[in-house]
Symmetry: none
Subunit: 186 residues, 2 copies
């Protein structure tokens, strides 16, 4: 009954069509397809090929990207007292995240603290995102791809998280950093 693997494409298409005040037949005519398939798709009795879906969207018109662009976001907490930041790791590297559940959010903002010698590990990190940070206190060695640099207070970094990377506190004192990931990665 559901060939879309849990994605209610039928309702989505129908809502879109209704909002444009088009009948199945009118849309079919514009898109150059049969009206029957629209009926089937809207009932989720058929999972359209992206070619078919694109034809249909061209009838509005609307791009595939727009069609799939997420909607409906809940009402979130705005202010966070320092102790409310949620600790993600809690070892020699402390990741204190602004917000509890970042799914659907654009940014993962964190207040990080590295104890002297703390290290994210010899095996480099890599994930689908972009990230940046500003060093507040202490000295942090940042490795990105084949580039290494030691940053101090006021210095910053920004890179594509897909390039393997690593962080290490090479100073004698604790290192404090504020970082941002987009989209949230862990």
């Amino acid at each position: 009954m559901d060939g879309n693997n849990g994605f209610d494409l039928g309702a989505r298409l129908k809502a879109l069509r209704d909002s444009h005040n088009l009948s199945q037949r009118e849309l079919a005519k514009r898109a150059g397809v049969s009206n029957a398939i629209i009926s089937m798709i809207e009932q989720n009795r058929s999972s359209p090929s992206v070619g078919m879906l694109k034809k249909l969207l061209d009838g509005f018109p609307m791009s595939l990207a727009e069609f799939f662009a997420d909607d409906l976001k809940p009402r979130p907490q705005i202010f966070f007292a320092a102790p409310e930041l949620v600790e993600l790791a809690g070892g020699p590297v402390s990741y204190r995240q602004v917000g509890r559940d970042m799914t659907g959010k654009a940014i993962q903002l964190m207040h990080e603290h590295y104890q002297p010698g703390a290290d994210t590990g010899a095996q480099m990190l890599s994930h689908e995102a972009e990230e940046g940070g500003v060093i507040i206190r202490g000295r942090l060695e940042v490795t990105v791809g084949d580039q290494i640099r030691v940053l101090g207070p006021g210095d910053a970094y920004y890179f594509d998280s897909r390039t393997p990377h690593r962080f290490r506190n090479v100073g004698a004192e604790e290192c404090e950093v504020v970082t941002a990931n987009s989209p949230p990665s862990f």
Copy 2:
């Protein structure tokens, strides 16, 4: 030869698969489909149903929305010494941005300094984005919609930038904040 109606889905999928270092067979296994269809899709000899496409993306994982969201990013500077941060405003409120041109970037990371009494203005700000910040030093009054709160060192905030907002240094000393916007807004 092109069942996707002018959308080069094959190249897109292949690039994604390559960037994750997965073979067609590995991805097929994760997604629970046959490897053959991946070969066909990547050559644009078959236009996958959205059900199939969703299965494949779940193997990364990645949402349909993300997949269709446009991308293509250049090779940027990674490290920024403190004086390299670019000053955006330079009045009583100093916005020092990590990176020169943020177009096409996911995050706009800034190191901000508010002089005592500094204020983003009585007419509230509003833009299409999400933003968050961590207060490092001083006291900052943050107004979001009808909510007001004074935040101190270690406190943080996060909200949808479309809700009107305003920042004001209500303390006697300078206030230091690290903020992130996604997507970059000004």
